[in-house]
């Protein structure tokens, strides 16, 4: 159970030294209890108190790490039901399935394809996180062969799925250095999985037909000291699985139910044969509490939008997404092409660059770093003002690229026109663009024709 602010206060130094940034130890304790600050902010807390508080300050959904090396991923550590309450912490991990009854060539192609998926967006690289290897053949040696094949082809974390506990035990022992996720402990074979976890350190999935059954298993695993647990409460029926996801998160977050305080795994690939529906089910679980999401294949038209959706939902609502400050070339501009300027708030950038692109007018887009604020906000905060804009324009390198020394500013900051011309000097002209992005294409077409 989580401790109250007062419980925590008792374990703090009670010196009110303010080193944590709060006026009193009690105020700090209250913030700790609410999960709003980390214990590390207090430089004076004793080792003993740290240990005592560690369990209590653990997030309601425990952290689980799958895989080893630089491609491992972390799930869990979630603290809220809704992203606007604070933020979602660790983005859902996507896994793609490989079945052990595929032939070698199919396995190789699939794994290479999984490896090759990579999209750059808003300064992040979006990829598939794991390979889920299923013992579809029911044969132990086939499974071990498939695992061996996959492990030689990728450094990505693996998920082992088999109905046979002994097969999983053997695979886990053989590949424990890769720290695969093992699916799944059921109520009749818990001891085997306690053993697997103890001997190999591999994280374990618990599968129950009902949430009661899940609790029964996780309770035993807790008693045995097994911490790396992932829950599969899957009936593979969309409606019940959705309700289960909501119920598990609510129990963990609102009731501090430790026995359900683990990340979950969901299997959209087993819920439908229709790839569109699979993508939609996966998207539902991105927003509604699926920590690991298993997909059937690598079709780009499904994966690409899903990866973008995951990025959208797991964006921290407290921090605006930013794009890189630089000169963006759109539609192959030349030395006479129009130059537009805007701020590096990712939405502003995406919307403006989309409209410029749609206009088909070759253009330069200067994107200035204002810590991810929109044009008006940045102007009001004194970050998008003539002096700073002029500095940015001069160091951006645009001056060497163009002959036409004229910059289009957003319509909302038309008032900057005169002062910015003065700041830039050297014959630069400023013209005022439209207020709304939707009017940019029309504006650019007539501007370029001038």
């Amino acid at each position: 159970m989580a401790l109250s602010g007062l419980d925590i206060f008792k374990k703090l130094p009670k010196t009110n030294c303010k080193d944590c940034g709060f006026p009193t130890c009690l105020a700090f304790a209250m913030q700790l209890a609410a999960g709003k600050v980390e214990l590390e902010k207090c430089p004076h807390v004793s080792e003993e108190a740290k240990k005592d508080l560690a369990e209590a300050s653990q997030p309601p959904v425990l952290k689980v790490e799958v895989g080893s090396g630089d491609q491992s991923f972390i799930v869990g550590e979630e603290t809220v039901m809704f992203r606007h309450d604070r933020t979602f912490v660790n983005a859902s991990a996507f896994a793609v399935t490989v079945k052990d009854d595929m032939d070698d060539r199919q396995i190789e192609e699939t794994v290479k394809d999984i490896n090759s998926i990579s999209y750059e967006r808003v300064g992040e690289t979006l990829t598939i996180n794991a390979v889920c290897i299923k013992n579809s053949s029911g044969d132990r040696s086939k499974f071990l062969d498939a695992v061996s094949k996959v492990s030689s082809l990728t450094g990505k974390p693996m998920i082992f799925v088999s109905g046979d506990a002994e097969t999983l035990k053997e695979a886990a022992e053989k590949f424990k250095d890769r720290r695969p996720l093992i699916h799944a402990a059921k109520k009749d074979n818990i001891e085997v999985f306690e053993g697997i976890n103890r001997d190999t350190g591999c994280p374990i999935v618990v599968r129950g037909e009902t949430i009661d059954e899940v609790i029964e298993i996780t309770e035993k695993l807790r008693e045995a000291g097994v911490k790396n647990v992932v829950i599969d409460a899957g009936t593979r029926d969309l409606k019940s699985d959705f309700v289960n996801q909501v119920a598990i998160r609510a129990a963990a977050v609102k009731k501090q139910e430790r026995r359900l305080g683990y990340p979950t795994i969901v299997f959209p690939d087993e819920m439908t044969d229709d790839l569109h529906k699979e993508a939609l089910i996966a998207s539902l679980f991105v927003a509604k509490y699926g920590a690991i999401i298993v997909l059937s294949g690598t079709d780009r038209q499904n994966i690409f939008p899903l990866l973008i959706y995951r990025q959208n939902i797991y964006t921290d609502p407290r921090r605006p997404m930013q794009v890189e400050e630089k000169v963006y070339e759109i539609n192959n501009p030349d030395e006479n092409s129009p130059i537009l300027i805007t701020t590096n708030f990712s939405l502003t950038y995406f919307i403006i660059s989309g409209e410029v692109e749609a206009s088909k007018v070759p253009s330069w887009l200067l994107v200035m770093n204002v810590e991810g604020q929109s044009v008006l906000t940045a102007w009001a905060a004194g970050k998008f003002v003539p002096e700073l804009i002029a500095q940015f324009v001069k160091k951006s390198g645009i001056t060497e690229k163009v002959k036409r020394k004229e910059i289009i500013i957003p319509g909302y900051v038309a008032q900057l026109q005169g002062e910015l011309e003065d700041e830039l000097g050297e014959g630069w002209k400023i013209s005022v663009g439209p207020r709304e992005a939707g009017e940019v294409p029309k504006f650019l077409k007539s501007y370029a024709a001038k």
């Binding site: 606007h84 969309l238 998207s283 927003a287 939008p305 899903l306 959208n312």
Partner: protein
């Protein structure tokens, strides 16, 4: 032991919005639980899908979606019927583009006449959106409401600077109004307060949170809607209890991720399938954050979303 789901206790519910009359009437909203949380409260009405019809041939649509409507682009009545008969639309969302002053600048009378003609030729409710400056839209909607008196059409839109004309038009002729807000809970509330103070009944309002699509700010819309629904249901805030309409189709179908071919971007996959996913995933996100009316375009995405709603309810 028997596990019990920790349930929300709801104090409020979403208003019932009546669309259409007689046999074509449907109810929207009315739920007393978060989206698809049927285990916590009553969800009497399904979210509905309105499909778009334009008053003129639209430009800039990718072939992957325009091919389904090419034969009806020139005839809004046929287009509306096709949406209903072939693609299963629950309602029609007619977009008046010809009224824009920087385009054809069509007058209110002609626009209103078209809305009446479309409404009378379909057996589903009608939603009408105008394009152009809000003053022109209000002027047109005044006439639209008059020509469609007592038929519970839904008219878009009112915003904080300009709401009186359209609200009066709705009140005078028993129609409904969309209140537009820019992803902001407080602005949404403020506008609803202004509209109701004018005498417009709260159950004649739908809220449009200025939807954004996948990859272009969808998360802002998702969270703004979740906050609106939480305020409405858990805090019983009357000024957030209006059903939500998302005019999402234009946001989805204008982005390069649906317009570019697979030849140009092989790593993005099949263009049409990708476009369907783009629209459907955007809609799925809006559904689970509280949409009551989705305005959609691609028949494939419409069919998928209808099936997902069936599975989740």
């Amino acid at each position: 032991m028997v596990f019990e789901i920790p349930k929300n206790s709801y104090n409020g519910k979403i208003n019932n919005l009546k669309l259409g009359v007689g046999n074509s009437q449907i109810m929207v909203g009315g739920e007393a639980a978060l989206p698809f949380h049927g285990f916590e409260g009553d969800i009497p009405n399904r979210p509905i899908i309105a499909m778009e019809v334009y008053d003129a041939e639209p430009s800039g649509w990718p072939e992957t979606v325009s091919k389904y409507f090419k034969d009806v682009f020139s005839d809004p009545v046929k287009w509306a019927r096709k949406n209903i008969e072939e693609y299963g639309a629950d309602a029609i969302c007619l977009k008046l583009t010809r009224i824009a002053p920087d385009g054809e600048n069509q007058g209110p009378e002609e626009a209103a006449e078209l809305t009446k003609k479309v409404r009378e030729s379909i057996d589903k409710p009608l939603i009408v959106y105008g394009t152009g400056p809000i003053e022109k839209i209000a002027e047109v909607m005044k006439r639209v409401s008059e020509r469609n008196a007592d038929s519970n059409i839904l008219m878009g839109w009112a915003e904080e600077d300009s709401y009186k004309t359209i609200a009066a038009a709705a009140m005078g002729y028993n129609n409904n109004v969309i209140s537009l807000n820019q992803l902001d809970v407080n602005i949404a509330k403020q506008l609803n307060i202004l509209l109701t103070q004018l005498g417009l009944s709260p159950d004649r309002i739908a809220m449009d949170p200025a939807s954004s699509g996948l990859g272009y700010g969808l998360e802002y819309c998702h969270s703004a809607m979740e906050r609106l629904k939480i305020a409405a249901l858990l805090q019983d805030d009357k000024m957030t209890q209006m059903p939500i309409i998302n005019d999402i189709a234009p946001e989805v179908w204008k982005v390069k991720e649906v317009k570019e071919s697979e030849a140009n971007y092989p790593e993005w996959g099949d263009q049409e399938e990708r476009g369907i996913n783009w629209e459907a995933i955007s809609c799925m996100s809006l559904l689970i954050s509280g949409s009551n009316i989705l305005v959609m375009r691609h028949p494939g995405a419409v069919s998928l979303i209808k099936q997902m709603i069936d599975m989740l309810l």
